[in-house]
Amino acid sequence: MTVLLLVLPLLGCLAVLGLPPKRAAAFGVAVTSATLATALLMAATFDYHRSGFAQFSVNAPWIPLIDLRIHLGVDGISLPLVVLTALLCALCAGYLARPSGQPERPRALVALLLLTEVGMLGTFVALNLLLFFVFFEVVLVPMYAVIAGWGGQRRAAAARQFILYTLLGSGVLLVGLLLLYSRTSTMDMVVLVGRAGTGLSHGVQVLGFLLIAGGLAVKVPVWPLHSWLPDAHTQAPTVGSVLLAGVLLKMGTYGMVRIAVPMLPEGAVALAPALGALGVAGIVYAALACLAQRDLKRLIAFSSVGHMGFVLLGIATLTPVGINAALLGNIAHGLITGLLFFLVGGIAQRYGSTDIDRIGGGLLAKAPRLGSLLVFAAVASLGLPGLAGFWGEMLAMLSAFRPAGGLNPALYLVFLAVAGLGTVLTAAYFLVMLRRVAQGVVPPRWTAERFGDVTAREWVAWTPLLVLVLAIGLWPRIVLGVTDGAVRVLLRGG
């Protein structure tokens, strides 16, 4: 079934090029829906008592010389991400198929979307380090093309910056992975997790962690390596932004949880404080940057840096609670920020701009349902209890109270305090944004303008996200119950 998950979008990607352009978007919906159905079927038949072990495994040789095997499988850590990816891709395809906004060159866009999906899903199901790397790279070119081909006014520069910056990260990651390989002679992730760094000297572990986590840090992105993100997210078309924020950033933190921390535990202990410090620095930096933003899309892009800061803080505690928090934060951020980018896309379509001053307030009066959704998503993002964003941040901060052995508790208390300050600032900028966009009176320039509220198709695309944000907020066990077993296996070493 894991293979089907990858083969479906791949075949779809090739097949769509042979279709007439008018049918491309509908075909995209069909393929991504079939993929989503596969992912849901996997979730339904998944053995939740054995969530710490890879299920639906496939293990076949590909290139023996470099120990590259087609080793795929899904466990409690990857399952939620697989479902999230399949869901967001299906929603994006649905968004492209809406009658009001058929994109230019739909065949190419749908093909690229499907290729991106192959790469993203592959990254989450790969159990061979090199295969993971290959899938990690597969995403780059199609995402570059989506930004460069369908993006905003300064798309060329943004797309170039995105791909060059992330490729630099990939290069460093590859050196780290091969260093690990040269000392262990295996690329099998299950075996390496089982060994938990035995037989690796302290120096190798620290260097390996530095290279692997450093390479992944570009993708996360960790402050101060985030500078590609705001431009890429702002210039990308809506589907690009949704997938960038919703899934691509998760590939970085997923790699840290799956590879860097369990395979190089001594390196993790040595460098986790640095990771945590960069994480909380990112939280505060992003909040301050958001306060200064004039553009809605850019504001949401910057807010991602902050949310990923919480995820990093969770990982940096090296405790089961912290890593569970990170994984939950990942999912919540994917859902909420995906929704926010969809909403901003809707606003841009109506107002022809995402500039906060140009919109000028009064969204709740002009389009009450759209306005309410924006309020909902924004308060979910700022971490209101009862919605999905809350748990990831709260648990990450909770785990910072009691970091794993070998870490300096006092330092983590400082992180905790800074992160707390960050949550206040986060609330501040979202509320300021809501006041300037949603509340107030409709400015005169828009009163004569006629545009509809949320359409039926938009409801179809957004309802799943709304429901999940609410469901995970009320009952976080939906995710934590799946990840917890796997996290414990990872940290115990197999």
């Binding site: 290139i63 470099i66 590259l68 290729l115 790279e137 780059l140 070119v141 490729l167 290069g171 091969l178």
Partner: protein, 501 residues
């Protein structure tokens, strides 16, 4: 010692067939009327395909036994030996030769090049390249290199009405003669120190304590410098960009793929089979050459606006990646198995590079000469995806391979193998430098590829007209080869020359 040796004609069949075809083509050209000159191209192509068939027959015999098939032997040492390494290189060179001949087909007619001479020279050079891959003796290697180089000077200067073509030919001639002189001096020192020209005998002699090691080491370094010119590694690269620009496009493709692959075949043989125990001497030098080549090549390529010059600098940078695993050999003296792994990384990269680079050149030759530039400027490719979608996709795919990014998996695997080789030798700094260089490389390949899909003045690309059949076949061959390497790279990875002891 026997004075008359028996020759294993099957072992030497591939280069022999090329040489015979070359002579036949030259003679036929003298007697055929001018309007029959397309036949010459067909005859040359047939010769190459026959040589390829001979290579396959040899492969069927040699591969299962896993024992080299040698001829011209003295005792157990052979001057000419066919093993997996030889077969792989000969196959790659012959496929490359086929593509170059297909590309030349149109250019010979359009530019009014003399068909007989052109094909004679090309086939001779190709025969030389094939001989290098099989040579296990310094004399054969040097002679082989000269057989590749001499016809190429003439080929480069073949666009007789163009001053730059003649200048390019002369530049290359002077550089090549100098490098040959340096190399021959090195060879004479090695011969003086070891008393042999056969690589395996040299290898044994270099391990003996009584050998004058300073003399031998000097010789090794001079031979390396000579090869540096042949493979256009920095700082011996300055002839390449002007030569590429002045030469007919098919000849530039030949230089960039066949000459370079032949140079690397010789380099790998000499360094690993012959001078393996001196890895401590040549290893660090090669590492520096590799680092300089990739960095300088990529940095200068970033600034190029003409397609052919960009390719010239990119091929210098790619030579750096190919050298890198050999550069990491210094720490592994006395471990032939590991040395084999490093050599295999270089060989794999050369083979994959050859195929993907041919795809790019094939598209370049279709675009032809614009404003005196072979392949035009990068901006001339704007909007090609609209006017020639298949060709634009092929070019984008090959560029992705050169950059080493999926969907160009072949290039990615080649890079992974090189990275692994470098790290095996413990050269972490070189690996990190390579990672940075990969980003530099991507920047310019991407600048080119993105122009293909940019909305642009489509009348300029539409003016290229329909794709002729021979170009379509050439592009198809290169792309099919690259796609095959993307799925089954083990065909070319892991092949090293047979190392003694």
């Amino acid at each position: 010692m026997q004075t008359i040796q028996s020759v294993d004609y099957l072992a030497v069949a591939p280069p022999l067939m090329l040489a015979l075809t070359a002579v036949g083509v030259l003679v036929a050209d003298a007697f055929l009327p001018a309007r029959r000159s397309p036949w010459i191209g067909g005859a040359a192509l047939t010769g190459v395909l026959l040589a390829l068939a001979a290579d396959l027959v040899l492969a069927v015999g040699v591969l299962p036994q896993d024992r080299p098939r040698g001829t011209f032997c003295v005792g157990a040492s052979c001057s000419y030996s066919v093993d997996r390494f030889t077969l792989l290189f000969q196959a790659v060179l012959l496929v490359a030769g086929t593509v170059v001949l297909l590309l030349a087909n149109g250019e010979v007619r359009r530019a009014g090049l003399p068909a007989g001479e052109f094909h004679f020279l090309l086939l001779t050079a190709l025969a030389g390249a094939l001989t290098i891959a099989a040579g296990r003796d310094l004399v054969i290697l040097v002679v082989g290199l000269e057989v590749v180089s001499l016809p190429v000077f003439a080929l480069v200067a073949l666009r007789r009405y163009d001053g730059r073509s003649a200048e390019a030919g002369l530049t290359m001639f002077l550089v090549s003669v100098t490098s040959t002189a340096v190399m021959l001096f090195g060879v004479s020192l090695v011969y003086g120190a070891t008393g042999s020209m056969l690589l395996d005998t040299i290898s044994a002699a270099l391990r003996r304590p009584g050998t004058p090691h300073t003399v031998a080491a000097t010789g090794v370094v001079l031979v390396l410098v000579g090869f540096g010119f042949k493979v256009s590694a920095v700082p011996f690269h300055f002839w390449a960009p002007d030569t590429y620009q002045g030469a007919p496009i098919a000849v530039a493709a030949f230089l960039s793929v066949v000459s370079k692959a032949a140079g690397f075949a010789g380099l790998v043989l000499v360094l690993t089979v012959g001078f393996g125990s001196y890895a401590g001497v040549w290893g660090p030098l090669v590492a520096v050459l590799a680092a300089a080549s990739m960095t300088v090549g990529n940095l200068v390529a970033l600034r190029q606006r003409a397609a052919i010059r960009l390719l010239a600098w990119s091929s210098i940078a790619q030579a750096g990646y190919m050298l890198a695993p050999l550069g990491a050999a210094a720490g592994l003296v006395g471990e032939p198995r590991v040395l084999g792994v490093l050599a295999a990384a270089t060989v794999g990269y050369v083979a994959i590079y050859a195929v993907m680079n041919l795809g790019v050149f094939a598209v370049l030759s279709f675009v032809g000469w614009i404003d005196g530039l072979g392949g035009g400027r990068l901006d001339d490719y704007r909007g090609m995806a609209r006017s020639h979608p298949a060709l634009a996709l092929a070019l984008a795919f090959c560029l992705a391979c050169l950059a080493g990014l999926p969907p160009g998996l072949a290039g990615l695997f080649a890079k992974i193998v090189v990275f692994r080789g470098v790290l095996t030798g413990g050269y972490g700094w070189l690996a990190v430098l390579m990672a940075v260089n990969t980003v530099l490389g991507l920047a310019y390949y991407l600048a080119w590829a993105s122009r293909l899909f940019a909305p642009g003045p489509s009348e300029s690309t539409a003016a290229f007209g329909p794709v002729p059949r021979h170009v379509a076949i050439a592009v198809g061959l290169a792309v099919a080869g690259t796609a095959l390497m993307s799925v089954l790279p083990q065909l070319v990875l892991g092949v090293a020359p047979t190392l003694g002891g």
